[in-house]
């Protein structure tokens, strides 16, 4: 039994340096996650500010309407479908990875937007009014007073979004990107062994997520301590 497991391990990872598939795949996964996270944060930030401004002042109705369409479409359709539309329809002449980064970024932006908007709306309305009463414009009061407080409160939730995103990118294989998941699949197609490569892939995701979750909960504790 043990000897056969050992042989399986050697066949799947050592022979032909197959472990390199996993390593390269991990690199691709992290790369896509990182850049789409940045796009998602920027996009989500802008959408959140527009929507929160509209909710507190009643202006910006048109911009808010556009944002709501964006949120509805993105949150109402599967990310795989969005990914394929992005690659096969919208950006079909660009690099696969760029298409994936844009697709996951736009997808993540919708969730980030709602996290940040929730953070802004959770701040006491009096903070905003105090800013206005000093003579700040609505936008400046948002920027200098509401956003810093909101971001501090939602930082753990944003970090969680990063963790979710890592796992969501596992569908990148649908447009033939060799990310971590696809790499495991590739090994399986060579060795005709499903168990070892898939277990390895799952374990790597799990380790990543556990490490990041630990960091997030430390962050939460530090923020809670800073708030006293």
């Amino acid at each position: 039994m043990f000897a056969s497991l050992k042989q399986q391990f050697i066949d799947n990872f050592i022979v032909d340096n197959r472990w390199r598939y996993l390593l390269d795949g991990l690199g691709v996964t992290l790369q896509i996650t990182f850049f789409s996270l940045i796009i998602g944060l920027l996009l989500g930030f802008v959408v959140a500010v527009i929507r929160a401004m509209n909710q507190t002042t009643g202006k910006y109705k048109i911009a808010d309407f556009i944002c709501r369409i964006y949120l509805t479409v993105i949150r109402g359709t599967p990310v795989v479908v969005q990914l394929m539309i992005m690659y096969f329809v919208v950006l079909n002449s660009v690099d696969k990875r760029v298409a994936a980064i844009v697709a996951f970024g736009i997808n993540s932006g919708a969730y980030v937007a709602e996290i940040i908007r929730g953070g802004i709306l959770a701040i006491d309305k009096g903070q905003f009014e105090a800013g206005l009463s000093l003579g700040f414009s609505e936008f400046k009061a948002m920027w200098l007073i509401l956003l810093p407080q909101a971001l501090r409160n939602v930082l753990p939730a944003l970090a969680n979004e990063f963790i979710v995103l890592i796992k969501e990118t596992s569908v990148a294989g649908y447009i033939a990107i060799q990310d971590l998941t696809k790499s495991g699949d590739l090994i399986r197609s060579r060795t005709y062994d499903a168990f070892m490569p898939l277990m390895a892939v799952a374990l790597i995701y799990l380790l990543l997520v556990v490490c990041l979750s630990t960091l997030v909960s430390r962050l939460e504790k530090r923020l809670a301590a800073a708030r006293r």
């Binding site: 009096g126 903070q127 009014e129 105090a130 800013g131 009463s133 000093l134 414009s137 200098l144």
Partner: protein, 266 residues
Amino acid sequence: MQETPVKPASTKPSLTLVPPADAAPPIFEIDGLVKHFGALCVLDGVSTRVDRGEVVAVIGPSGSGKSTFLRCLNRLETPTGGRVRFNGVDLTDPKCDIARQRQRMGMVFQGFHLFDHLDVLRNLTLGPVRLQHRPRAEAEAEAMAALERVGLADRARAFPAQLSGGQKQRVAIVRAMCMNPEVILFDEPTSALDPVMVGEVLSVMRDLARRRMTMIVVTHEMAFAREVATRVLFMEGGRVAAEGSPAEIFERPERECLRSFLRRVA
């Protein structure tokens, strides 16, 4: 701060040239102010004026529209009808740059509303530095002097969460003062405080009144209104039901609604 006959040694000359007091327009001219919240009529035609150096106490039962009246003065509430003029500028005109006008009127809230993410000193300098573009060092020096005056210089680096309610409200008053406003609006500044802290805050407000700061104070503190106010507005049902000097309002109340209100709060 502009024409203070008592203390001419103002630390900083005002940027706006103010004509002699007799020619200056009143700080506030309020004409037929109406405010509805949906079907509910909260202000039903309020007219009055506030001159420089006045301390106007606004009293009345809860729900009489006092706070809404005050919030219409800096347009935190948009009036449904009527007119508010501030230094002759019509604040109800949609084209008026309300943010600019608000820089010249401070406001102190019942719930303090210090900026929780900034320490005391940053709370005080945010407006002067970001809005009046004053050098940080200068703004900080002025803020420290003002903190000294209310006995909180040692809390300059504390965060709002570390302060007591009375301390928070004193900082909030200093924050309003740091903008060198022409008038400060107080919206029930002591209603969220226990009696000891009420005393701290009222003494700061008395000090302001002595320095001839123009103040409009919505309050339930009848002793304060009687002692410090130069004029008292009694509101009921969204109207000014009685108006006069503290003596006229408290010693010789004419209208029955005022008398019954005073009996109830006495």
